[in-house]
Structure formats: C-alpha cells, structure tokens
Amino acid sequence: MLFYVMNRLGLAAMIVATALAMLFGMIHIVPGDPASIVLGPRATPEMVAEYQARMGLDKPLPMQFLVFFLNVMKGDLGRDVFTNQPVFDLVMTQLPHSLALAGLGLGWAILIGIPLGCFSAIKRGSWLDRLTGVISVSAIAIPSFVVALYALLVFAVWLRWFPAIGAGKSGQIGEQLWYLVLPAFSIGLGWVGYLARLVRASMLEILGDNHIRTARAYGLPERWIVYRYALKLAVLPTVSLLGVGLGRLLSGAVFAEIVFARPGVGKLVYDSVVSRNYPVVLGAVLITTGLFVLCTLLADLINAMLDPRVREKL
C-alpha cells in the first residue's frame, strides 16, 4: 500500500509539472503584452521595457519557465502584477469559495443521485424507473449555465427566496451557505443525473453477479443484499468519478462564478488570462492541478479500501 501511495505521489508530481509546462507554453502563445495592459495606454515604451525587465518578461521563454519552476520549488508562486500580493495568498482567498461550491454542488448530487440510481435499479422496468431515467438524462442534457440562469430568474428574481449575486459576508457561515444554494444547485443538477445513471448501471450489473445470487440462495433479506453487498460495490466507479469531478469543479465552475458574481479560483484564472496576469494564472492552475491530482488519488485510495480486489492488486 505504501509503495502504491508513493508511486501515485511521484506520478502526481509528474502530472503537475507537465501541466505547468504546457500551460506556460500556451499562455505565452496567446498574443498580448501584460506590460501594456498593466501600465495602461499612456505608458511610454521605456516604461513598458522597464516593466518587462523587472518582471523577467524580457528573458527567453525557457529561462522564464526555469525561473518560475525553481521559485515554485522554493514555495514562491510569484506576485500578482497588479496588486503585488503573493499569488499563493491570493489563491488562498479564493479557494475556500471554490471548495465550498464544488463540495456542496457534488454533495447534494450524491445525496439525491445515488439513492435515485439505486432505487431505479431495484425497480427496474417500472414506470418510476422510466421516469427517473427521463429526469436523469434531462438533468445531464441541460447545460449548467442554462440551469443557473433559470434558477436565478425563478428563485432570485421572481420568488426572491435566494440572493442573486455574491458569496455573503465573510465570517457569517449561515449567510454564506444561503448564498451557495443556487450556484450549488446549478452545478450539481447535471451530476444528479450522471450519478443516478451510473449507480443504476453498476447496480444492475452487480445484482446479476454470482455472489449476489449466492446471498439470495442463502435467504438473506433483499434489503440487506442491496444495501450491504450490492451498493458497496456499485458506488466504486462513482467514487472515481467524484474524485475527478471535484477536482474539475475547483477551477471549472467559472460559469457559476460569473453568473452569480461569486469569487472563486475559476473566475480568478479567467480574469487573469484576460488581463495577462501570468503569475496568477500559473500559480492558480498549479494549485488547482495539485488538488485535482490529490482528489483522484484519494478516490483511488477509497476504492482500494472499499474493494478488496483492488487492494490485492496493490
């Protein structure tokens, strides 16, 4: 197990380094000079040149990457070109908002999606199964930003049940949760459908397995078989999917952050790309890539804990 974890951590480091190298190359391919954006239209060419030299932007690209990489090794992600704030601190102010949004969005999807899939599998072929199927596929098919816009219109503008924008005042947990309801609903709805379909398919497969047939032959109660044996195995692919999903949502919930004017890492990266704030783009992506890799690693470890067959292979 220890070897497996070490192996995965080594792989994770390689993934992060590769992602960074690719990103570094890509953001420098996009035309646009951060110096002229930062200094504004009235900046003289001398001021632009001085700024580029100060930020190291006048050096060859491989050299810039090397400097960045060595700084990262020392724990220095650089500084925001506009505020001169350390990038790490800046990302850390946004990350809790992204974690809360991704966590709550996936959380309610798990609470609804997994029982829904399980129920559909047990009641296979019934009209409730078919109805659940239609609802699940619809939830997957509707783009999240459409859900967000309609949720905003109905629950914030018409009914005034929830706030439309922002994240609530810092330090007021209740208020912040209240502000999370609509964005979390919007990003989670599609996941309800995914999880329901995935769990249903897994359950159907497992309910036909030999060990389930054996359990039935022993006369174990159906509820016991379903929840104790079948569901435990059926959620394994779900755990892997959730690991990837959580990692993606940390920086991928940008539409929800824009529609609901929420702070978050996704919007930070988006704004920074537009303003060519390269240190922030790189630092934020480094942190979210790290978290993405961590989430998938955790998902694999949970799978290993739940499934003895996986453990044996380690």
Binding site: P31, T83, T93, R160, W161, P163, G166, V259, F260, A261
Partner: protein, 520 residues
C-alpha cells in the same frame, strides 16, 4: 394500485419542513434595513493608489477616501467644484494658487491634510523616476510651492489647458498622505491605503468581492447621505442587472443594450439615467499596407457603410451617430460628418477606379463581445452590397493591441477594425491616440498626418476657446478626409438606480460620486 407508504412520522416531518420554509418567507437582505448603498463596481478594485490605479470604479473610491482639491460637478454639464480646497485660482497661465479646507484630518494619527501633502501627491505622479502611467496628466508640472500649511501654488512649465478639465478633477488630482506613504516600501500601495481623510473610511476589504466604506465621523464637510457604502464587484453586466432586480445593488452602470429592455419594463421603484458617453466608436482602416493603402478603397468603404443601420441594428436605436471623436457638448465637437449618408453608387465607382469592380475579401477585427460582433456584422452586411466580402473576426482586446504593436509586421493583418476608446472630458484625450508617435501603439490605422500632429500640440497650449475648437474640428476633418475612419457613435452610459435618492453622476454617467447623493 399505488399504495401510499408515507407514515405518520414522515407526514409530520414533511409538514414541519414545509411550514418552516413558508414561515421563513422570501429572502430579504439584512442590509436593506440599514441605511446603506450598494454600488456596482464593474472591475475588481486592485490599486487604490492614484499613482497607478486601473479604472473609474477605483477612482470612485478615491473620492470617498482622499478627495482632490476639486472634483467634477455632478449633473449634465461638464464643470468642476471645490472639494478639499476652499479656493483655487489660476493667476496666470503657469501659476495656480490654492487653499485647503482647515480641519481635514488623516486617519491613523497622521495629522492634518496640508499643502505638503498636495505637493507630495502631484509631484509624485509627475516625477519620471516614479514611472506613473498617469505622468502625462502632470507633464506640464514644474513644482508645487508650499506657501503655508494650507496654501500653495501649482507651478507649470508651460500652459496646460487640461489642468482643470482632466488633471485636477480626476484621480491624478487626489491627495494622499505624505507622512504615511513615505513609510511604505516603494512609496506606493495597492488595496490598503495607509491613511484617509474623506467623508468615508474603510470598514472592510474583501478582495475581488466587495469594498465596504463607513461614514468618517471626523469629516468636517457636508454629511454624506449613506452611513455605509458597499462597492460590490459584479463584472458581468447581466449579473448586475439581475442583482439590481433582486435588491442587491442600488446603483449599477449597465451596457447600452439594456436600455430598450429597461424602457419596456423597469424594475419597481427605480429610475434609469441615460447619459451620453464620451467614448467613441469607429470603423478604422489600416492605410499603410494592403488593399486599404489605396485611398479610393478607403473612401469606397466610407460611402458604403450605413452608420444609421449600425446604430439601429447593433445599438437598438439608443445611441446617436457621432461626427468625430469628440462628443457633443465639448470643445472641438464637429457639427456633421462630411460623408453623412451612404452612397452605394459612388462606392462602387471608387472600387472600380481602384481596380476592384467586383469588390474583394477582407476581415473586420472586433473585440470578442456581443456588442462589437453585432456592429461588425451590420457593417459587413452593408459592405456586401458593393461587393466587399468582410468576415467578422473577434479578438481578445489584448490580442488586437499586440497585433497593432507587433514590430514583425503583425499589424499588416489588421485591415479593418471596429474600435471603441474611452476618454476624459478634454478633447486632447481623444486626439492624442492618432498622432504619428502612436503608430505601432494605439494609432491602428497608421494615420501619419503632419498637420494633425502640429494641431494636436498647439491645441494643448491654446487658451482661446474658439481657436481651440476650430483646431479640433480641423483635426477630425483631416481624419475623415484620409478615408481611414468611419465615425459611428459615442454611445450612452445607462445607470439604473433606486428612486429614493438622486444619484450624483458624472455627465457621462461613468463616475459615481457617492458622497454627493441626495435624498428624494
């Protein structure tokens, strides 16, 4: 048959939950009960130091925390009024005497606001070694002489007309605390001003989310209407409109395209102020290389574009056609375009003379937003009538600027472009971008006129308003005669606000002076 499996406990639990939700009722923000104002900030304030600020929303905050000697007078006409000064007088073209109000105190035990602070603030921006992007505002400053604790003289190297129209009333005129700023590393700050003295003080800063100010009890001036002001960061215009509808914003600058929608259905208890913008939109043609090097081709485009269709199609008839780059009401505003209406026959004739009787293919570069793309498409449809097949190519604004500045010739790819530049209320702010020095920077048409350049420089030193006006009119005539420009519109700035107060807005609607709001 379907059998209900709900039991008594489940029924009670469900009923209780439903009752709790019903009792909670619709969401009401707690702030609605306090006397607070929530203003949209369309960019996240990141630099609250006038030496290197980024945009108007930051300058709105400066005026609450550290005003200047004068500020713009809110209303429909451009003019200025005293702010931190009790008097200010231009004694001759290069000397301006001022006297500060007494009793203005810096926060943090930094003493009273003095003429030394004024000297420090203005010379700090002017000094080349400080590399302020706003150095141009003080390019004519020689020094500020301090004559007593509260009086001084601004001494200019040469006459500088925009001093009262754009330097002093804008961010370059705001006063920062010498004692506090000198203690800072690099003598500049970003999100946390080291000292303030205005009608408000900082209550809480949540970076990229909101900037909350509260009343400064030590402010000796006129009492501001609101106890607390929240500058809420809402970068997306649609989100801002929704937030206004739900009561989470009280004042919001919205895009032009919102006007027809709002005129049909206004949110309750609200008002819309539609102010003419100073910004200017135009269709430009790069005249140094490629097909538009031929003046006849450029003129053909001038005759083919139906600007009114652009206004109707892309701006829903909200905005008026512009006659140049200087907005109505300002010195230098041109009464009419030389080519006021499309003339397709003449356009076809010019194309034939230029050797393109069947037209040609080209690209219109636009910024990647719906407004720009719509403008580009309406123009392309008009050009198609004379055989010019123009494809609309959306670009990120940074990419467009990079292409224009590309020393390796990337600018040659920029044949036609739709551009919008913002501006301050002095004509020199519009004309400066089209000088020869700006070729390869902001003069994307690569318009190289020597007479234009001379006029631009002379107008900066011309005190006679009539002569100055004529100079700017002539400059726009030269621009149109070059064939490289089709002036489209200045646009409008719609500001939506609650009806229980009268907002204090700049005449173009682009600045919000929250300290000067009045109750209805």
């Amino acid at each position: 048959m379907l059998k209900s499996r709900i039991n008594r406990r489940e029924f009670l639990a469900t009923t209780a939950l439903g009752g709790a939700i019903a009792a909670a009722g619709p969401y009401r923000p707690a702030e609605a009960q306090t006397k607070s104002l929530k203003v949209r900030s369309y960019i996240a304030p990141e630099r609250l130091d006038p030496i290197h600020y980024l945009g108007a929303p930051e300058a709105d905050i400066f005026d609450c925390l550290y005003p200047g000697l004068i500020s713009y007078k809110p209303g429909k006409e451009w003019g200025w009024q005293l702010d931190a000064a009790t008097s200010i007088e231009q004694v001759d073209p290069t000397h301006v005497k001022f006297e500060l109000k007494k009793g203005l105190g810096w926060s943090g035990g930094n003493g009273e606001v003095t003429a030394e602070d004024v000297k420090f603030s203005y010379e700090r921006i002017a000094k080349p070694e400080n590399k302020s992007p706003y150095r141009g505002d003080w390019e004519a400053l020689d020094r500020v002489d301090v004559t007593s604790s509260h009086t001084g003289v601004i001494v200019l190297k040469e006459p500088f007309i925009p001093l009262f129209s754009t330097t002093l009333p804008r961010a370059a005129g705001n006063i920062v605390c010498k004692k506090a700023v000198e203690k800072l590393d690099g003598q500049r700050f970003t999100l946390e001003p080291p000292a303030t003295f205005g009608a408000y003080k900082i209550k809480k800063i949540e970076p990229r989310v909101r900037f909350t100010l509260e009343r400064n009890p030590g402010w000796p001036g006129e009492r501001a209407m609101f106890d607390e002001v929240d500058f809420v960061v809402v970068t997306d215009a649609n989100a801002a409109e929704t937030a206004f509808a739900t009561g989470e914003l009280d004042v919001a600058l919205l895009p032009m395209t919102a006007v027809p929608r709002l005129r049909k259905a206004m949110p309750p208890k609200s008002k819309l102020v539609v102010s003419p913008s100073l910004a200017y939109w135009w269709l430009g043609m790069q005249m140094e290389d490629g097909i538009f090097k031929d003046k006849r081709v450029r003129q053909a485009v001038q005759y083919a574009v139906d600007a009114q269709s652009v206004l109707d199609g892309a701006f829903f008839g909200v905005a008026e056609r512009s006659t140049g780059i200087i907005a109505p009401g300002m010195i230098g505003h041109r009464p009419a375009n030389k080519i006021a209406k499309p003339d397709l026959d003449r356009a076809r004739k010019l194309l034939a003379e230029a050797g393109h009787p069947r037209g040609f293919k080209t690209e219109i570069g636009v910024r990647n937003s719906a407004e720009f793309i719509n403008v580009g498409q309406v123009i392309a449809a008009g050009l198609a009538q004379v055989g010019i097949q123009a494809e609309v190519a959306p670009f990120d604004s940074g990419v467009q600027k990079a292409m224009a500045s590309d020393k390796a010739g990337g600018w040659k790819k920029m044949q036609m472009h739709v551009v919008r530049f913002s501006m301050a209320p002095d004509p020199s702010w519009a004309t400066v971008w089209f000088t020869k020095e700006q070729i390869g920077e902001w003069n994307w048409e690569r318009f190289p006129d020597a007479e234009y350049n001379d006029l631009h420089k002379a107008a900066l030193r011309e005190y006679d308003a009539k002569k100055r006006h004529d100079m700017y009119v002539r400059m726009q005539d030269i621009m149109e005669d070059s064939g490289a420009y089709v002036f489209l519109t200045h646009g409008v700035n719609p500001v939506l606000h609650r009806d229980h107060f009268i907002p204090a807005l700049a005449p173009d609607g682009n600045r919000v002076y929250v300290t000067k709001f009045k109750s209805t």
